[in-house]
């Protein structure tokens, strides 16, 4: 049985997390993710869970660190400036092999930026969500339903690989309403956590959650072990949606809100006889290089569309080793590109290819 609701993206993220067995939410108010925290504050007391409004984003993320250390599913959510403050704890959690979920409902930046939708935190999420050598799993939904589906996925991957997972959404997805279904029979996949610090009860040696290693060789060994795990994730968990790519000469690459716009633009291009297609990365890390490499064999050009000055475009070029030209189109500062703007770029590329 599936229950169907009309929900805001932010609320759907919260409900999905609760259904994924997360009973501990630590947050701090920030636009445009506030409905997520508000939903948690309404629901958690009724199910014996914790909603805690922390004194800062820094504290909220460190509360997640403490709760995750004890072996439970814990999360926090924020928007761009707040995520910057959480990076301290995220680095420590990565260094302590702690699973957790962090949600970024992106807004324009840098600095206080704006409160309108943006995708300018791609580099932060996929390259440097804190100091040190590490990655987090980064998932990018493009609909309210996918927000629901990816929350459970994020917790599962985080638990399985003992690392933080991030959902990289944006203000448009967080604020818009769509019908969503929750599977009432969905089972929460439980992972044994023998490493958790929940009291040894006199039955084992003490557990220690720690990211400090004074001997360089110990630290290097651990980082290497973690990167070996990352390779397994890269091989097994790339996710992307392909739309009309089989015969596509112009392949648009876009995720999240900009992929919805690009989807419309591809339809418009097809109506005008242009062989356009769309690849929509769902996992931003691991980046879905396999489908991009496949498409590069037949495409004449790629067009990356982002709500930034061009961040994911680097990964697209790297993925296909610049086998075909990779162009970029983006709007930034909280502006969502229009399908017409994207179509104009596709047409320009198609004409360029006809020369």
């Amino acid at each position: 049985m599936a229950e169907r609701f009309l929900m805001k993206g932010n609320e759907a993220l919260a409900e999905a997390a609760i259904r994924a067995g997360c009973k501990h939410f630590f947050g701090y108010p920030i636009t445009p993710q506030t409905e997520l925290a508000a939903y948690m504050s309404k629901k958690m007391p009724k199910i014996g869970g914790t909603y805690l409004q922390a004194e800062s984003e820094i504290a909220a993320a460190n509360m997640v660190l403490g709760a995750a250390s004890c072996g439970i599913r814990a999360m926090t959510s924020s928007s761009s400036p707040g995520i910057s403050l959480k990076t301290e704890a995220i680095s420590y959690m990565a260094g302590s092999d702690l699973p957790c979920l962090i949600i970024n409902v992106q807004r324009g930046g840098p600095g206080l930026g704006g409160i309108q939708p943006s995708q300018a935190d791609y580099w932060q999420a996929t390259k440097a969500l804190g100091h040190g050598d590490f990655q987090v799993i980064a998932l990018a939904p493009s609909s309210v339903q996918e927000m629901v589906d990816l929350v459970a996925k994020a917790f599962e991957l985080a638990d399985t690989y003992r690392m933080p997972a991030m959902i990289l959404a944006d203000g448009m997805l967080g604020q818009m309403m769509e019908p969503v279904e929750f599977d009432d029979n969905a089972e929460v996949k439980k992972t044994e956590k023998p490493w958790a610090t929940a009291g040894h009860g006199g039955k084992r040696e003490h557990n220690v959650i720690n990211s400090l290693y004074m001997m360089p060789q110990d630290l290097e060994n651990l980082v290497n072990e973690r990167f070996a795990r990352y390779e397994v994730i890269k091989q097994n968990h790339q996710m992307a949606e392909e739309y009309l790519t089989d015969d596509a000469e112009i392949v648009v690459v876009a995720y999240g809100a900009s992929s919805r716009v690009s989807h419309s633009a591809v339809d418009m291009a097809r109506a005008q006889g242009i062989k356009a297609g769309l690849i929509r990365p769902i996992t931003l890390w691991p980046f879905p290089t396999d489908v991009l490499q496949k498409a590069a064999k037949t495409a004449k050009a790629f067009l990356t569309v982002e709500m930034s000055k061009g961040q994911m475009v680097d990964d697209v070029k790297l993925a296909i080793d610049c086998a075909v030209p990779v162009e970029f189109f983006g709007r930034t500062g909280g502006i969502i590109p229009t399908p017409d703007e994207v179509l104009a770029q596709i047409k320009a590329l198609a004409q360029g290819g006809a020369d």
Binding site: T50, E55, I58, M63, S69, C70, Y92, V208
Partner: protein, 251 residues
């Protein structure tokens, strides 16, 4: 033969990295004894700070988490909320608790977070080699106050217990020292009460231990104890600043 003195089970049988004459060892032992006497080692989660006590996770027998600098009260909050039946304590120094972690300390206290904090105040940053701490005394010479702490540019020391006593979430705020047998016994009682308060769900308990740092003060251990009595205790008077349960208002 009757055993009259031994290592508490709450402390692991390992050498510590603390300098000779440092009072961390005494306070570690008191916490270990309290874990034994209350029979709570198996359900206790300790949170180690950044600073001299960073390696505390290797010394206490209970489960341990190492926190980012200053964030121990937030980490402890997460752990306590995850498993309210666990006993959760932090062990922090002056820079950790009263400089970089001031917000986490004040808000854990004002929430009445049911945790126990052991605060070592030795008026200096020990681990990094003797820089000014938020609790360094006026005119105290440190690596970063080479002409003495000038209150006009570096401000005044923070008296944490006096500050926290005004918060309704606090059950116990007590300052003790370990410079004499009488004071050690007093400190033990305070730490015991701090943990018992948590078991009794009374709220936030903090025990500040005025301590020495012979290495960075540049003194022998005995001289350091004298300096503590002559300079630290007048500025940081020992005593109970709040003793009750959360919700109580300071009269």
């Amino acid at each position: 033969m009757a055993v009259v003195f031994e290592r508490p089970h709450g402390l692991l049988n390992v050498p510590t990295h603390y300098c000779p004459g440092c009072t961390h060892g005494i306070v570690h032992r008191l916490v270990g004894e309290v874990l034994d006497e209350l029979g709570i080692e198996g359900k206790t989660v300790g949170v180690a700070p950044v600073g001299c006590a960073v390696f505390a996770y290797d010394y206490f027998s209970c489960d341990m988490i190492q926190a980012p600098h200053g964030r121990a009260p937030a980490v402890a909050t997460g752990a306590k909320r995850a498993n309210p039946d666990n006993v959760v304590f932090t062990y922090q120094g002056d820079g950790d608790i009263a400089a970089i972690g001031t917000a986490e300390t004040v808000h854990a206290a004002t929430r009445g977070e049911n945790i126990t904090i052991i605060f070592i105040n030795n008026a200096i940053y020990g681990m990094t080699g003797g820089q000014m701490a938020p609790t360094s005394l006026p005119n105290q010479v440190t690596q970063t106050t080479p002409y003495g702490r000038d209150v006009n540019t570096a401000g005044y020391p923070i008296r944490l217990c006096e500050m926290l006593q005004t918060l309704d979430g606090v059950a116990l705020a007590q300052r003790v020292a370990v410079d004499s047998v009488a004071h050690v016994n007093q400190a033990k009682k305070a730490i015991l009460k701090g943990f018992q308060n948590q078991i009794d769900k009374k709220g936030f308990s903090i025990i500040e231990v005025v301590s020495t740092c012979p290495t960075n003060w540049g003194m022998s251990p005995v001289k350091a104890l004298d300096w503590l009595r002559e300079n630290m205790l007048p500025y940081y008077p020992l005593g109970i600043y709040k003793d009750g349960e959360k919700g109580d208002r300071l009269k």
